[in-house]
């Protein structure tokens, strides 16, 4: 269990750093989702399942969806122009 915790925590640090360093906003959001999922597993290990459920639903789910919409609104997603041109 100790080793699993260590691995998860190191993942957390890697995710946190790479969110800040990644140039593509879409990549940042996906990494942010991964961060939330890892965080919810850590909450499970820390014996607080309530928080784990909330973290998974809000952090990995709704927040990321809102980020996606915002990216679409400001036309920051790559390949979006091609989609529009096809229609």
């Amino acid at each position: 269990m100790e080793i699993l915790e260590m691995i998860l925590l190191s993942f957390l640090v890697v995710c946190a750093v790479s969110v800040a360093l990644s140039k593509n906003l879409l990549t940042s959001i996906v990494i942010f989702m991964a961060y939330s999922v890892i965080m919810s597993i850590i909450w499970m290990i820390l014996e607080s399942p309530d928080l784990a459920i909330t973290e998974a639903a809000v952090g990995a789910g709704v927040t990321s969806v809102l980020f996606y919409i915002t990216l679409k609104k400001i036309h920051a997603m790559k390949g979006e122009e091609d989609d529009e041109a096809e229609e």
Partner: protein
Amino acid sequence: MKPRSDYELSLWRRLVRFVDGETLADVERRAEENRVSDALSQKKVDVEAETLFEQQEKEDRDDRKRRLEMEHQKEAEELLEKYKNWPKEHGVKIFGRLYAIMAVLLCAVIITTLLVTVSYLPEYGSPDNPNNNEVVEKYNKEGLQDTGAVNNVAGMILDYRAFDTLGESHVLFVAAVCVMILLRLELTKDGKPTDTKRAEEENDRLYEPKNDKILQLSAKILVPVIIMYGIYVVLNGHLSPGGGFSGGAIIGAGLILYVNAFGFEKAKRIMNRKNYAVISVVPLLFYALAKGYSFFTGANHLESGIPKGTPGNILSAGLILPLNICVGIVVACTMYHFYTLFRKGGM
């Protein structure tokens, strides 16, 4: 380098030639040649210069004046340009460098502060920890008796500290209202968006679902399961992990998936502006009525009159179950509303 015109006649040159083996006659002849050629060239130059000089004298005077003025102006302009561009070229650079240095410094300071603080924290899970005091003991021992909730967290947030959760629900509601003020489409009196706004938003309607078969099929399978699971989490809040907030978020996520697959037209049948107003305000009002008095009694709760029931049953724990449902509805509505506001500025 060009020698001077009288270089050939100079003493030094004569000495050099003498050493080279020239005779005196040679020297005289050379001097004569020099003199003749010099005079000739001088004459030519003189004539040319005279004509040119006369012509140019007038032009030159005007020209020089003009050129001087131009040069002055140019210099002044260049100076002004340089002066204007200085902050652009150097100021930003200096500011950027300073900014980066200060950011790194600030980060380092915060990180060291946090690390030092963490090093003073008591060991995780140790029984001697200061937070392991009589408060925890009371909640752990008598929580089930007092609240009737098997899930101690639900008993805590919806019974002992219910007025905290009331504030949280209202924070969420206020946040939704603020987002609405920022992103909502302005409507005319007939309930239709104004022309400029509609033109702006028309672009976004492109993103309405385009009958994506894969998405629709997966949504058909997943949405009922997700919403059922959300309802389960809400209703079982006092028995198992979860509760109003997490269950509401799950239901909201299910609704968002449904809208993505089938479009706003179909979702409008359930969730339109009117229904949203009723659905999100009534639970809040109920919550405020049920627990608002805590602000006046100093967080001491009164007997609700609802029997506690046997712990473990779905109908137990008094007011916790209805309050969970209230919070769940508010959160689900708020999540969905956030999505619609971000997406197209209203339901």
